[in-house]
């Protein structure tokens, strides 16, 4: 059974935020004004969180890229009154934008705070409008949106493989963040497929998941820093 998942090596992450930018342009994520961002309205399905350890001058900065954890037991889908958020057979947690009523219960239920709400109708700078991704629907105001592991890429890769009459290969389907990561800190693949890199990495001694004790069973693993 395919279970799409991600392993993020915190030792390799340089905090360049290329994943954030790639995600934004890949998924047509609306841009908000600096004032709105200041007020907590920014949207970023992938966010590089920062954590400063120690006191100046002996400080280290730790980076923590955070996509949706795509839990196997997602707290968000249980609470949705209209089944607008769901988990598919391959473990990707998605959102049905035309059905969502915007109650934001899922956003409150998510312990990882990775659900984003469209407070305003979406807007983009004029220069970006030409480059919206035709494979990804834009979201209207008043609905929740979230990281989808770029599942439109999966659909495209599947079709391509079918046309070429071959099996889906690991490199065929990579979300934008993993694709663009310059240090290969983000590795993506099928957690249940032993030939995929993630299947091996998730067994690494450094591997951990966020808030594992909550029983949400996230499919995003992190490799702890060695030092």
């Amino acid at each position: 059974m395919t279970r799409w998942g991600m392993v993020i090596d915190l030792d390799r992450c340089t905090g360049c935020a290329a994943c954030e930018v790639a995600c934004k342009s890949e998924n047509n994520i609306a841009t908000v004004t600096p004032e709105a961002a200041e007020g907590g309205r920014a949207m970023s399905w992938m966010t590089v969180m920062t954590h400063v350890e120690g006191a100046f001058p002996n400080t280290t900065m730790q980076f923590f890229p955070r996509p949706c954890m795509h839990c196997d037991n997602p707290p968000c889908i249980r609470v949705c009154p209209v089944s607008a958020t769901y988990i598919d057979a391959e473990g990707i947690v998605g959102q049905i934008y035309p059905r969502c009523i915007g109650c934001r219960y899922c956003a409150n239920a998510c312990p990882y705070t990775v659900k984003y709400f469209n407070w305003y109708p979406p807007e983009w700078p004029a220069s970006e409008l030409l480059y919206l991704n035709p494979d990804v629907s834009v979201r209207p105001k008043g609905v929740i949106e979230k990281c989808t592991f770029c599942h439109h890429r999966l659909q495209r890769a599947r079709e391509q493989a079918r046309v070429e009459q071959r099996e889906l290969r690991e490199e065929d389907y990579q979300p934008a963040c993993a694709d663009v990561c310059p240090t290969r800190a983000i590795v993506f693949g099928d957690l249940d497929n032993p030939t995929h890199e993630v299947a091996e990495l998730k067994e690494n001694a450094r591997a951990m998941r966020i808030m594992e004790d909550l029983g949400t069973q996230p499919k995003v693993y992190y490799l702890r820093r060695r030092s």
Partner: protein, 447 residues
């Protein structure tokens, strides 16, 4: 008042003369008050239109502060609605004679306030146009859907429960002919007080007053569960169901006391809302202030003793952090003031209970604020930034509009139906011997 109406009124009995007077005699200050309230309600409506047009960005909500004033008001109003059920149903079932003059005003609060409470989550929706999806795509594992079912049932049963005991009074108005004969002929639904009708009516009221109690309990339990079913610190608590029910009844009694003192004054109902009513309800308020404290203490002590980092961030945010002011004001309003005033006979007067009632109503609003906001702005993941929340003028306007809309409808309702149940008062007078016999049965002379 028109001459013929005055004559008709004069021909009625003494109870009818006092209790039906508000229906036909409206003072100038009533119109002024109604106009002001209508203005505020309209203002709230304008704010809502703006919000629908431009999106929830017009509120002060953000990530992670997803729920604010609307959800607080939702919990608050549905809480107030427990006034009618408790006072009316429980007192009716337990045959407390002193209930007779206060049931109507309490039931009326219930029905009106459920409506205003139930629209709050819809106001809060990002897509109110899709609200019917909760029926078309109902997902029964969601506590929100339990709420839709529970509140729907509660609204229906409470409306019937208000209407049935109204029938004999509506028939009295119809027969007196003092007001809108056609309307009251329709509303009275052919009730003529025949023995069979009377028997059926009392039986139906008897059954309903038992049925509405578990429904009322379920409503606020489920509202508590909306929060408790998530894994958020200081929401994920088994005590929330009963805690919310207690808080709801508590705020309901307070709301009734405030309404009663005002009604007594403006409609000269001193003969019906007597000092003993305020004394008894004041005692009830005292009991609930203690129960409320017990629940709150148990809730906070458990969180504190466990000392989980996630819980403690929210805990200290409330006790000594940015939410210290609303927190301690809540303790003042929900515990200190009512306890001080209601534990003394001398201050369990109409004036004293009114002050305590207002303190509790404000305190209970703050209690809901202290449940919703501090947890929202303190996400479980410590790397996530701590949020902030300042309600925008749109939210505050809608809240003001909701409050004034409720008061306005309540005022108007006092012009349509007698605010004290005439037939139940009369029945109470006739039942004095029966009650005396009943009391004698369990406390009578030793044989």
């Amino acid at each position: 008042m028109r001459q013929d109406v005055a004559e008709k009124l004069a021909r009625l009995g003494p109870d009818e003369q006092v209790l039906l007077r508000p229906l036909v005699d409206t003072s100038r200050s009533f119109y002024v008050m109604a106009a002001v309230l209508a203005g505020v309600t309209l203002w709230g409506l304008v704010a809502y239109v703006l919000q629908v047009r431009y999106g929830l960005g017009r509120t002060g909500l953000n990530r992670p502060e997803y729920w604010g004033i609307y959800i607080i008001s939702f919990v608050f109003f549905i809480g107030i609605s427990h006034a009618g059920t408790l006072i009316s149903a429980i007192l009716r079932v337990s045959k407390a004679e002193w209930r007779r003059s206060i049931t109507r005003s309490a039931e009326l609060i219930t029905v009106l306030v459920i409506g205003f409470g139930a629209i709050q989550p819809i106001v809060d929706l990002g897509r109110p146009d899709r609200v019917l999806n909760v029926l078309f795509h109902a997902q029964l594992r969601s506590p929100l859907l339990w709420d839709v079912i529970s509140i729907g049932l509660y609204f229906c049963s409470c409306t019937i429960y208000l209407y049935l005991p109204l029938l004999p009074d509506l028939a009295i108005i119809r027969d007196s002919g003092i007001k809108a004969p056609r309307l009251y002929r329709f509303l009275a639904a052919g009730y003529h007080g025949t023995p069979v009708q009377r028997w059926r009516l009392e039986r139906a009221i008897g059954i309903l007053s038992i049925v509405v109690i578990p429904i009322a309990v379920s409503v606020h339990t489920v509202i508590g569960w909306i929060f408790a079913m998530t894994l958020r610190p200081m929401w994920h608590s088994t005590i929330f169901g009963p805690y919310f029910v207690v808080g709801a009844i508590y705020s309901g009694i307070a709301a009734i006391l405030v309404a009663m003192t005002i009604l007594r004054r403006v409609y000269h109902l001193e003969g019906y809302f007597k000092d003993v009513h305020f004394d008894y309800l004041g005692r009830l308020l005292l009991v609930f202030s203690l129960i409320w404290f017990y629940f709150t203490f148990a809730e906070y002590l458990t969180a504190f003793y466990g000392g989980e980092p996630g819980e403690m961030r929210t805990f200290w945010a409330k006790l000594s952090g940015p939410f210290a002011i609303p927190f301690w004001l809540m303790v003042l309003g929900c515990f200190v003031i009512p306890l001080a005033l209601m534990s003394r006979q001398a201050t369990r007067t109409p004036r004293g209970t009114m002050i305590a009632g207002i303190a509790v109503v404000i305190g209970m609003w703050l209690e809901r604020y202290n449940i919703v906001v501090p947890t929202s702005v303190n996400p479980r993941w410590e790397l996530e930034a701590i949020g902030h929340y300042f309600p925008s003028w749109v939210e505050l306007s809608i809240m003001a509009g909701t409050f004034s809309g409720f008061i306005l409808l309540y005022m108007l309702a006092t012009k349509v139906v007698p605010i004290v149940s005439i037939w139940e008062i009369k029945e109470g007078r006739e039942a004095v011997h029966e009650v005396a016999a009943r009391v004698a049965r369990y406390s009578g002379a030793i044989e």
